[in-house]
Amino acid sequence: MLNKEIRNHFPILDQEINGHPLVYLDSAATSQKPVQVIEALDNYYRWNNSNVHRGVHTLGNKATDGYEGAREKVRKFINAKSTEEIIFMRGTTTALNTVAESYGHANVSEGDEIVITHMEHHSNIIPWQQLAKETGAVLKYIDLEEDGTLSLDKVRETITDRTKIVSIMYVSNVLGTMNPIEEITEIAHQHGAIMCVDAAQAAPHMRIDVQKLNCDFLAFSGHKMCGPTGIGVLYGKKELLNNMEPIEFGGEMIDFVGLYESTWKELPWKFEGGTPIIAGAIGLGAAIDYLEEIGLDAIERHEHDLAGYAMDKMSEINGLTIYGPRDPEKRAGLVTFNLDDVHPHDVATVLDMNGIAVRAGHHCAQPLMKWLACSATARASFYLYNTTEDVDRLVEGLRSAKEYFKDVN
């Protein structure tokens, strides 16, 4: 387990909610921000704010250095070959939409296949639904195993020579399943398809190596990994990005503008139309520095341990169902569950009254909820600042929810 002092880096955690010290267990929705990131944003706006890539003046250079410096930090963070492959965007949703809109429309036609899975987040379903509808392509789903994992046999059965795009989440935001992206990428490539990875729940918690995965695109958001909202990353292989058209046109992304024709800047800027997300990128850079200093391996270990501890403790509660793989080594640091006869909203309200923040609902994964045969679930998700005491408070809260509703049934 990580040192409990880490909690002190997050000023928001030091407060009472409904008369109890806050226990924040909703990091899979968005993480809290360490003082290092808050100060980086403050410092940027206080001392270095300026537009990038255009000024001759000193502040402009400072802002440009901060922005492009953050790009290099991201490159190193996911081990991309070049900063040309790192595009700053609003978040995972925008990044996945960009791949569907730009790469998809140029490369997918009627009768081709797009392959996703039953566990995807809406952001990795709907862009492909739309692409399939607009092009006449077929959207196929890889079925899940009983325990909410993917079997490579089913992956092999689903991907065919007609498959053009395979897009799969690295880590499930509901089941916690960690998918074998490297192996699936190899299967996709054998059939001439490209592999796109939704890494929104992976980037905050584990070491990502895009060269080892050999995936073609990978998307993640800053706000789930201690960074600010409104900044995310699309990684793409240079040879693919070079051949893709931008989907936003305007300032920043142009090379030469004529009355009737224009040309684009080189990578990565041709995909960054308009004044970029300068403060967001700088904040993300600070978040990466922060996570690297603690160590992604140590963070991942900490979360596995916490999830294991939570599953053990929660399993002792009668009538509590946990979804997803049971082996804590095979899942990320979150536990999705239901308490018999108490609706997850009611569970979440009782927990909230105890100062404990969890998510309740469909977690932006309605097809997965259907697969699980429930309309909603509750989810506790952990991050580097959570402790076993937080889990104990959760378990105590769950027991009081059960007690409170016991007369109902």
Partner: protein, 145 residues
């Protein structure tokens, strides 16, 4: 824990309606059917009514959701039976006002519904309480689904 505040939300009347919902089921031969869901949380309601001569003769609901949404649907179906569509719409507006914490017109009899007034203090749960009322309002307005 803050049991008092929780009790405000889950008054015994609500729990009674949750435990023993009134008018649960599908109305055979109803002439109005409304399906509505709350996309942010997954609650769903299937409301069937029989509206004749601008009077709600019968109403039944089926659905999935938390105690607040199901209890609210139970109370709603109970209250609107026998009301004119105009009265039912007025009640829906009064209910919505109550959820927003607004003062209500004294002429409106809210009966059991007042048990739900505590929901106004839980902003995240207001949508749970209003789902069935929105479905009903749509149903009596004669708008096509």
């Amino acid at each position: 824990m803050s049991t008092n505040k929780l009790d405000q939300l889950y008054r015994s009347v609500i729990m009674d309606h949750y435990k023993n919902p009134k008018n649960k089921g599908v109305l055979e031969g109803g002439n109005v059917t409304i399906d509505m869901n709350n996309p942010t949380c997954g609650d769903v309601i299937h409301l069937t009514m029989n509206v004749e001569d601008d009077i709600v003769k019968e109403a039944k609901f089926e659905g999935e959701g938390c105690s607040i949404s199901m209890a609210s649907a139970s109370m709603m179906t109970q209250m609107i039976k026998g009301k004119t569509t105009e009265q039912a719409t007025k009640l829906a507006h009064a209910f919505s006002d109550m959820m927003l914490g607004k003062d209500l017109d004294d002429s409106i009899e809210l009966d059991d519904l007042e048990a739900l007034s505590g929901v106004a203090q839980f902003p995240a749960r207001i949508k749970c309480a209003t789902l069935s009322w929105k479905a009903m309002e749509k149903g009596v307005s004669g708008e096509p689904q």
